[in-house]
Amino acid sequence: MPPALAAEAALDRGALATALCGDGAAQAKAVEGVLRNSAEATSGDLAWAGTILRALLDRRLACLGESALVLDRAGAADGRDAATGTARPVTGGRSPVLGLRQRALVETASGAASLLTGADVELRRAGLAALERRIATVPEALLLRAASAETDPGLRAGLAAIAQSAALSSADPARRLAAIRAVSEAPSGAAFSRLSALKADAAYGSDPAFRSALDAALARVERAVSIGNGLAVLYNGLSFASILFMAAAGLAIIFGLMGVINLAQGEFIMIGAYATYGVQEAVRRLAPGWLDAYLLAAIPVAFLASALVGIAIEALILRHLYRRPLMSLLATWAVSLFLINGVRVAVGSQNLQFAMPPYVSGGVPLYADFVVTWNRLFAIAFAAVTLVLTLVILKRTPLGLAIRAVTQNRDMAACLGIRTRRVDRLAFGFGSGLAGLAGVALCPIYSVNPGMGANFVIDSFMVVVLGGVGTVVGTLVAALGIGGANVLIEPLYGAVAAKVIVLAGIILFLQRRPEGLFAMRRRR
C-alpha cells in the first residue's frame, strides 16, 4: 500500500467537519475522500464519519463558525461538538443544505460507514442497499473488507454478488474469466442475464478465450436454469394437486356413496379457511405467545367446523334428495349461494389477513432459481397426511368398512344390518371435513375471501370425473394428473389454454373409460 494512502487513512475529523459546513465543492471533495479511504480507515473514524454524515442527511448538523454540532433531532436547542464531543448550545448555527449530487455522495458514504460499522444486521443491510444504488463509485477494497467482516449469511451473499459483478466488468482479463466461471458456478436467472449482458462487450468480438469461456458459461447456466424452472413447475403442480386432492377426495367419497355431487364443496373449503382465521384471532386474544401454532391448532377446528356444517346440510336437505341426484345439484348450489353470501354479510368480502408462522414463510433455494417454499411444502405434507388418514379410515375402521360396503351395494349392506343412512351422514361429514382441511392448507398460499371456493370447485369435479367414483387412489392420480397438466401447459400456452386442453383431454379420455381411471366394481 502506498504510504501516501496510509497517511490519508487516519481521518482528520476537524477538517471533515469544516468541509461539510463549507460550499458544495468542499462537501463533495471531503465526502469522496471518506468513501475512497473507507477500506483503510479505522472503525472508530468510520463510525464517527457515519454519525456526522447521517446527521447531515437528516438536517441535524448545525455549523457554528469553524466547528459543527450534531443535534439529537432537527431543531434541537443544543448539540455536541462533532470533533470534540462537548455539549454546546446551537444559537446562531445554520444547517448546511445538500445539493442533489452531494446528497447522493453523502448517502453512499454514510452507507459505507453503516455497512462496515453498523451494530445490527438491518443497519448494515440498509447501508449495502445505499451502496448498491451507486455501485460504480464504490471502491472494491471496501466491499472486500465488508465481506471479510460480515457475519450475516444474507448480507454475505449480497456482497459476493456485488463483488462478482464488479469483477465481471474489471479491466484484467484473467480476473474476468475467473469471475465468469464463478458466476456460472451458481446458476440463476439473474446470473444468466448478467452473463448475457457481457456479449455486448467489445472483448466478446476480439478475444477468443473470453468468447469461448462466456459461451460455455452461458450454456451451463441456461441448462441449470431450465432444470431449476422445470423443478419449480413440478413443485407448483404438486402443491396445486395437493389442494385439488383434498377438495376432491371428499367429493369422490360422497359421490361414490350417494351419487350426489356437492356443488357447495368449494364453500366447505371456505369454511375451513374462515375457521382457521377464527382460531388465529382466538389465539391472538387468549395466548399471543402461541400465535405461531395457530395453523396446527386450526386443523381439528376446521375439520370439525366443515364436517358439522356438512352433516347439518345432509340432515336437513340432501337426505330427501338421494333419489333425485340432479335436484341435489341445485340444492347444493343453493346452499353454496347461501353460505357465500352469509359469510359476506357476517364477516365482509375483503381478503382475510393471516399471520405467517416461520414454518410457512420463506423457503430454501435448492437449485438455480428453484426455491422450496415452506407454504407450499406445508400444503403438500398436509395432503400426504390427509391421504394416509383417509386410506386408514376407509380400509381399517368400521366406518370405512361400512362406507365401502354401502358404496358397493347399498341394498345388500342394508340387509346385513348396516345403518346406511347413518353411514351416509357420517361419510358426508367426513368428506366435508376433508374440504375444510384443504381450507387450512390454502390459508398460507391463496387469498381467503367468501368467493374463494369457486376457484377450485370445477377443477375438483374434473378430478372426480377423471379419477372415478369412490376410489381414493383414483382421486389421487387424477389430482396429480390434472394439477400437473395445468401447470405444465400453463407456461407454454397460458392458463386458459391449459384449462381448455385439460377439459378436452378429460372428455376424450371418457370416450375410452367412461367410469374414470379406477372404477370401483359395484352393483347398482
Binding site: 355431487i261 343453493a334 349461494l337 370425473v465 386458459v496 372428455i507 371418457l510 370416450q511
Partner: protein, 371 residues
C-alpha cells in the same frame, strides 16, 4: 288457439291422457297470453323500459324452454346452457357492430382497444343478418353436436354430464375473458347503434324487438309442444325414464339425445340472439357457471317437464330478480337460495304443484316426472 296446439292428431285421444301428453290448457293459455302481450305492446305501448323488460323476460323464457326440452323431457341436465345462449348473443353483437361499421363507418370499440386496422377474418360476412342468424344457430348446434357426441357416445349421463357441461361453460368463460379473441375480451361488446339501419334506442325499435321476442317465444312453445306430443316426444320420455330399456328395444338413444340436444342448443342461441340487442351489451359474465345453473333453477322453480312451467319459472324468477336486485340487492341471493330449497324439497314439480294442488286434489296419484 288450442287448435293450433293440437299438432298430434296421429295419437289416439285415449293415449294422450297423462301428465304431459294430455291437452295442455296451461300452455295454450300461456301462448295466448304471450300473443296478447305482443299485440298489447303494439297497440298500447307502455313506457320503453317496461317494453324492454318484457322483451328480456321473453328471451329468458325461450332459454328456459330450451333447457326444459333436454332436462324435463330427456333427463339431461345441462349446467352449461349459458354457452349456447352466449354463442347467440356474441354472434348477434358481432352482427350489430359489423353492420354499424359498414353503414356509419364508426369502428367498434374493440378494434380501437386492440389497435386493429380491420376486423378479424371470422367477422367476414356478419354484416348480413340472415348469415348471422344461420351462424348463431348453426354454431351453437355444431358445438352442441361435438360435445354431445363425445358425451352420449361414451354414455356419460346424469350428474357426470351436468358437471362436465359446467366445466365446458367455465372454460368458455375463461377463453372469452382473453382480449386477443377478437370478441371484446373482458369488456365484451357494447355500443350497438344500428339495427337493420334504424337507431337502436328508438321506441319503435325497442317495441319491435320485444314483439319479435314474444312472437319467437310463442313459436318456440308451439314447436316444442308439437315435438313433445309427437311419437318422437314419447321416445324422449321413454329415454328419460329408462334409457337402457329403450336401447334394448332397438331405438338408437344416442341419435335421439344428440338431435334434441342440438335443437335445444339452437333454441338457446336464438334466445341469446334476441336478448343481446335488448340489453345492449354482451360480455363473458353470461358464461359464468352460476348463470347457467340459474337457468336450471328457473326451470326447477317453474316446474320441469312442463313447457309452461319453464316459461312461468323464467318469468317469475327474473321479474323477482329485476325488482329485488334493485330494491334490496343484499337479500336477493338469500331469497333465491331459499326459493330453490323450498321448491327442491317441497315442490318436486315446481310452482305448478301449487296449481295442481288446488285444482286437482288427486295430484298425489299422478307420477310426476322424476329427474
Amino acid at each position: 288457439m288450442s287448435g293450433a296446439l293440437d299438432l298430434s292428431p296421429g295419437i289416439p285421444a285415449a293415449r294422450r291422457r297423462g301428465p304431459i301428453l294430455g291437452g295442455d290448457p296451461l300452455l295454450a293459455g300461456l301462448v295466448g297470453l304471450v300473443l296478447a302481450a305482443a299485440l298489447g305492446l303494439v297497440l298500447l305501448p307502455p313506457a320503453p323500459y317496461l317494453v324492454n323488460t318484457v322483451g328480456q323476460l321473453a328471451a329468458f323464457a325461450i332459454l328456459a324452454v330450451s333447457l326444459d326440452l333436454v332436462w324435463g323431457y330427456l333427463g339431461i341436465l345441462s349446467l352449461g346452457h349459458g354457452l349456447f345462449f352466449a354463442i347467440g348473443g356474441y354472434v348477434c353483437a358481432m352482427h350489430l357492430l359489423a353492420h354499424a361499421y359498414a353503414v356509419t363507418g364508426t369502428a367498434p370499440d374493440l378494434m380501437q382497444f386492440m389497435g386493429w386496422k380491420s376486423l378479424p377474418v371470422y367477422w367476414a360476412g356478419l354484416t348480413s343478418a340472415p348469415y348471422a342468424l344461420a351462424l348463431a344457430l348453426g354454431l351453437a348446434a355444431a358445438v352442441a353436436f361435438v360435445f354431445g357426441l363425445a358425451s352420449f357416445r361414451s354414455r356419460v349421463n346424469g350428474v357426470y354430464f351436468s358437471i362436465i357441461s359446467q366445466a365446458l361453460v367455465y372454460v368458455a368463460m375463461l377463453l372469452m375473458f382473453r382480449n386477443d379473441t377478437g370478441l371484446g375480451g373482458n369488456n365484451g361488446m357494447t355500443g350497438f347503434s344500428l339495427l337493420f339501419g334504424w337507431p337502436m334506442g328508438a321506441p319503435g325499435v325497442v317495441t319491435g324487438l320485444a314483439v319479435a321476442t314474444l312472437l319467437s317465444l310463442a313459436a318456440v312453445l308451439v314447436g316444442a309442444r308439437a315435438l313433445v306430443a309427437s311419437p318422437l316426444g314419447r321416445r324422449m320420455l321413454a329415454c328419460r325414464d329408462d334409457e337402457a330399456r329403450l336401447r334394448t328395444l332397438g331405438y338408437g338413444t344416442t341419435r335421439l339425445k344428440l338431435g334434441i340436444w342440438c335443437l335445444s342448443a339452437a333454441i338457446a342461441a336464438l334466445a341469446g340472439l334476441l336478448y343481446v340487442p335488448q340489453v345492449g351489451i354482451i360480455n363473458p359474465r353470461v358464461l359464468s357457471p352460476d348463470l347457467s345453473i340459474e337457468i336450471a333453477v328457473w326451470v326447477a322453480i317453474g316446474g320441469m317437464g312442463r313447457l309452461g312451467g319453464a316459461v312461468i319459472g323464467a318469468i317469475a324468477v327474473n321479474a323477482l330478480k329485476f325488482w329485488l336486485s334493485a330494491a334490496m340487492p343484499e337479500a336477493w341471493p338469500f331469497i333465491l337460495s331459499g326459493l330453490v330449497l323450498v321448491v327442491v324439497l317441497g315442490l318436486p314439480n315446481g310452482l305448478l304443484d301449487l296449481a295442481t294442488l288446488r285444482l286437482k286434489p288427486n295430484w298425489l296419484q299422478r307420477a310426476g316426472p322424476q329427474p
